[in-house]
């Protein structure tokens, strides 16, 4: 039970993130929801990578040979980098929208439908 706590945290953060994306009308807040989702999935990957008692696979002076593949850590790093790129692109879109439309309320962004 105790070792499952990170997964509960992942679940809670995911739900908060999704609720933010679905319910908020402000574009910036939606972007924050996406960032929350990204953090949740990063936490999920990093908690998967933990094995109790395992050591990093560095052979020099290793205390034991019970080693753990560093794949989830590598995945998390990659996913953080991708997250930065998506946030930057989304924020720059929000900036242009604000400049052209004068609002970041998604209910008022309906010019395409006309």
């Amino acid at each position: 039970m105790f070792w499952n706590l990170p997964y509960f945290a992942v679940l809670i953060i995911t739900i908060i993130g999704l609720a933010t994306i679905v319910h908020k009308k402000n574009l910036i807040k939606i972007l924050l929801g996406i960032t929350l989702l990204e953090s949740a999935v990063n936490l999920f990957l990093i908690s998967l990578g933990y094995r109790a008692g395992g050591v990093a696979p560095i052979y020099t002076l290793a205390p034991s040979t019970y080693m753990v593949l560093p794949t989830p850590q590598a995945l998390t790093l990659t996913s953080i980098v991708i997250g930065v790129a998506t946030s930057a692109l989304l924020l720059s879109f929000a900036m242009i929208i604000h400049r052209k439309y004068g609002t970041v309320n998604i209910n008022l962004m309906r010019r395409l439908r006309e």
Binding site: I30, F44, L69, L75, T78, I97, K100
Partner: protein, 524 residues
């Protein structure tokens, strides 16, 4: 003739050449725009050549695997790793090669077209960078054998596509379309990553073949399947997650739209790869098959009915793209629904899947052609509103001919390629369930009706005074369209050859899960 180095490292070069080209493009753009155009064209042609070399090798010799950083490029499982493929692996089986060919042809045609269609715009260095990144993304998605890598290329493709949709800001409209697309695809990609985490947690592997071999179809796998199905069906624009397609396709530059079609087919490929290679018969194939069929039928019907009242020509074509995606889902869904039953598979399944997979190729060609003609019209008259067009047949004869070819192909009229694949779908789906085949035919008729209307309002009628001086589209644009048109006609005239040489191996490779696993992990 071709250096062995290139043949041996073709899978790596397929992704690294356009990536290098993309990032050097802004630098070279500083020197001169002519050199930059030349550079982009050379990179694209080189990539296409590598793609054809690789595809030829795959069709001749079977699945090619390429392991990054290993002593030998086919050493998937390192000797000291305890049987786990730890490195990034590219696995190119005939299905991947099929998609690679589509992307290469479409990429060359679209790039040739965009050299003149976008020449009036500013910031072209960035445009070509994004375009080459899209090429990288598609090639990476279809050739990777590692599921996390698939996610990375999916994100590269989404980022580049969003950038290219928003490229012509257009008073914020294009950015609005891009933001819709990008929020959806980011959320989708996050769920793909969740699914990857679930697989890794259960099977300690990211390699598709390894996951497929260890697949248990537990409750967690079902959750992962739902996440992947939802995310990838959304990315390929299937109803009920289709609402980004008309916005994104109508606001992107004309040339980029034609390639966005290929980009969405890459997600379709990902969906089929998950269903057939990773799960195959372990999943409840009848239920999942019917889910895919229902998604397909809904896409076909809703897509075409939404298309009919549209006034914006590219929006209309985008709804038709949704509708055509439905045919692919229908064909492959029927194949999935009979997957475990060998007799039904021989009678119905393979033909239906051949139809569905062949339709991917045909759709990329004729839909690309139609979007390019729409782009040419927009280039000359500056509007996409059908009510403002008319009589353009007097001025733009070649564009009109290409439009007719594309429109007849999409409506499934012989002797064009749309007929070839749709006929395979009709005849096999009719044996499976007649109602579905009848729906498919009705949708085709509605498609034809819709395009007759579009053709009439764009090209027919007396010459309008405001379009008296409209000239034919510039030559590079015509050549780009002609490449696609020639393929549309050739595939329509010789469908049997194409199906036997290109499509059938791809379908059999997709269905043959054991073959895929053996090719990567060896006989173990």
């Amino acid at each position: 003739m071709i250096p062995g180095f290139i043949v041996a490292n073709a899978p790596a070069l397929l992704v690294s050449v356009p990536l290098l080209g993309a990032f050097l493009c802004p630098l070279i753009g500083k020197v001169s725009s002519a050199i930059r155009n030349l550079w982009v064209m050379v990179i694209m042609l080189t990539t296409a050549a590598i793609a054809f070399i690789l595809a030829f090798r795959v069709y001749a010799e079977g699945t090619v695997i390429y392991v990054f950083g290993a002593a030998a490029s086919n050493l998937a499982v390192p000797l000291d790793s305890g049987g786990i493929p730890v490195r990034i692996i590219f696995t190119i089986d005939p299905m991947s090669a099929f998609m690679i060919i589509i992307c290469a042809i479409s990429g060359v045609a679209v790039l040739l077209y965009s050299l003149s269609s976008d020449s009036r715009n500013s910031g072209l260095a960035v445009y070509y960078t994004l375009f080459l990144l899209m090429i990288t993304g598609v090639f990476g998605m279809v050739s990777t054998g590692d599921f996390f890598n698939f996610f990375v290329f999916l994100e590269i493709l989404s980022l580049a596509s969003a950038g290219i949709i928003a490229y012509r800001v257009d008073g914020g409209l294009a950015v609005e379309a891009a933001i819709k697309y990008f929020i959806l695809s980011t959320v989708g990609a996050i769920f793909v990553l969740y699914a990857i985490g679930i697989y890794y947690g259960q099977y300690n592997a990211l390699n598709i073949a390894m996951i497929a071999q260890r697949m248990q179809f537990t409750m967690l796998d079902k959750i992962a399947l739902v996440m992947l199905l939802a995310a990838l069906a959304m990315k390929c624009g299937a109803v009920p997650m289709h609402f980004w397609t008309p916005d994104a396709y109508s606001m992107a530059p004309g040339s980029a739209t034609a390639f966005l079609v290929v980009a969405s087919q890459a997600s379709l490929y990902g969906l089929f790869r998950v269903l057939f290679t990773m799960y195959n018969v372990t999943l409840n194939y009848v239920t999942v098959g019917w889910i895919v069929i229902i998604l397909g039928v809904l896409s076909m019907v809703i897509g075409v009915t939404m298309a009919i009242p549209q006034k914006d020509v590219k929006r209309l074509m985008a709804y038709h793209a949704v509708s055509q995606t439905g045919y692919m889902l229908l064909g492959v869904g029927v194949g999935l629904a009979v997957l475990g039953d060998q007799a039904a598979m021989n009678a119905v399944g393979y033909t239906a899947m051949e139809g569905g997979i062949f339709h991917i190729f045909n759709h990329a060609m004729y839909k690309g052609l139609l979007f390019l003609t729409a782009g040419a019209i927009f280039y000359r008259i500056g509007t996409r509103d059908l009510n403002k067009m008319g009589g353009l047949g007097h001025n733009m004869k070649w564009t009109m001919i290409f439009f007719i070819i594309g429109a007849l192909a999409i409506a499934g009229i012989p002797p064009f390629n749309g007929y070839a694949s749709k006929f395979l779908i009709y005849e096999s789906v009719y044996l499976f369930n007649p109602v579905l085949a009848i729906i498919a035919m009705v949708v085709s008729i509605l498609t034809l009706a819709s395009f007759v209307k579009v053709f009439h309002s764009i090209f027919m009628g007396p010459q309008l005074p405001e379009y008296k001086d409209v000239k034919e589209a510039p030559r590079p644009m015509l050549i780009g369209m002609a490449i696609l048109a020639v393929i549309v006609i050739a595939f329509g005239l010789f469908p049997t050859i194409v199906v036997n040489t290109l499509v059938a191996p791809a379908v059999h490779a997709l269905v043959d899960q054991a073959g895929y696993i053996t090719a990567v992990l060896g006989g173990a």
